[in-house]
Symmetry: C2
Subunit: 225 residues, 2 copies
DNA sequence: CATATTGTTTAGTGTCAGCTAAATTTCTAG
DNA sequence: CTAGAAATTTAGCTGACACTAAACAATATG
């Protein structure tokens, strides 16, 4: 039941690419995400599928999904990752664009005890610095109701729910623009050429490239106070 | 100039086995310390010696010592290890017998930034939970003047300088007996059968096995106040 | 529906770091 | 000073996990 760093990375990638619907993930998508070649992916998937207990269910030419065991480990890694990010940010004073890279490495190597102690001193937190939900110990999910900002209707109030943590340059830019989780806004313009949002309680609209907007996920403003 | 976890472990072991005098370390000693077989050691030493830049100087049948480059990395690992131990103890509330195992893993994977931030929140500490000196950044040593308790003369005042961190059971026992760094004592009895010390400001002497005593290093009581 | 394109797998290699068995060198004791 | 013991190295393998080149399947398109 021990998993190597490489196996960990595959499991987490399958979880993330499968999304809330747990769809089948293709060899190509995995190769792309992990920065390896497709034959390496095929080889690893065959291994993970034929292990006992198997970590993935794999059908030749038809993609993979995680088994219950695979899911357990993948969610544990997500919990590690997000706890570590928050810890680096809140305790070690990392900026929010610095945490991801370090968490990506350390998530594989911390013990159960480390996980528990970090959760304890952070007060069993539920959200990481980028707005992502921290799964409770031994649990999956949750998946929050959020949609890409670029798919949000014009003028409908929204709150930034989370931002992608995978691009440090984009994160610095988003912070500079004040576009962080919890910020309320409306979409003012959405064309192939440009994208603009009006941040609630701020005068002029904020213009940003579609690429940058693509890193943002939003949700409906919660009406109940 | 990147080192794998395996290479790291060899370098640190050579540093530690070489001691303050930087003596040559044998293949056998390394195999023993690292829990691998001697042919594996020979193979690794040949590789480390023929790299450019070389990390060790190696003569067939005559043992190995670190080059300047090897030393630099080895001391960096020692700094990582001891900083992490102190951090786990002081911030994450690990007990002193729990820190070593976790530090042994994490020392290889933390970034420069992590090292610096941890040192900062600990206030640039100089000693780890077991009394070992934390090397300053980019520096070697220091080696403190300390000798094994079992080699200390009877009735001569001494202070516990450090204790070995490699045996969790022994550490718990030492803590129970109040034998921790900074504690002043004298040796009352030292025979093959048993060992007893009198802890300053405590009535009855403490009896302990020679094995347990073997984990303790002491130094002369500092006269200057 | 046949063929071109795309996606995936198979076959064969390489590197890292471990292992056992056997050969060789060094050390030690008589 | 030499035989036997101990230490070390060499030779040859193994398991992970990458890679390239080539074969094969699935799919899209004219
Ligand atoms: Mn992240
Ligand atoms: Mn990872
Ligand atoms: Mn230690
Ligand atoms: Mn180590």
């Amino acid at each position: 039941m021990e998993t190597s760093e490489a196996v960990d990375d595959y499991l987490k990638a399958i979880l993330e690419l499968g999304g809330a619907e747990d769809s089948r993930v293709t060899t190509n998508a995995l190769a792309e995400r992990l920065g390896v070649r497709t034959p390496s992916v095929t080889g690893m998937l065959q291994k993970l599928a034929s292990q006992h207990p198997a970590l993935v269910r794999y059908e030749r030419y038809r993609g993979v999904r995680l088994t219950a065991n695979g899911k357990r480990r993948a969610w544990e890694l997500v919990r590690h990752h997000r706890l570590i990010e928050l810890f680096l940010h809140d305790v070690l004073k990392y900026s929010w664009d610095e945490v991801h890279e370090e968490a990506e490495r350390l998530e594989h190597f911390i013990s159960e005890r480390f996980e528990d102690r970090v959760a304890a001193i952070l007060g069993d937190p539920e959200v990481d610095p980028h707005g992502h939900a921290i799964p409770p110990k031994h649990e999956a999910g949750p998946y929050r109701a959020e949609v890409p900002l670029v798919a949000w209707p014009l003028h409908k109030p929204a709150v930034i729910s989370s931002v992608s943590d995978r691009n440090a340059v984009a994160l610095r830019e988003l912070e500079r623009l004040g576009l962080m989780p919890g910020v309320a806004l409306t979409v003012e313009q959405s064309t192939p050429a440009a994208f603009a949002v009006r941040v609630q309680a701020r005068s002029s609209p904020v213009r940003l490239g579609n690429d940058l907007a693509g890193y943002i996920q939003v949700a409906a403003t919660d009406r109940r106070p």
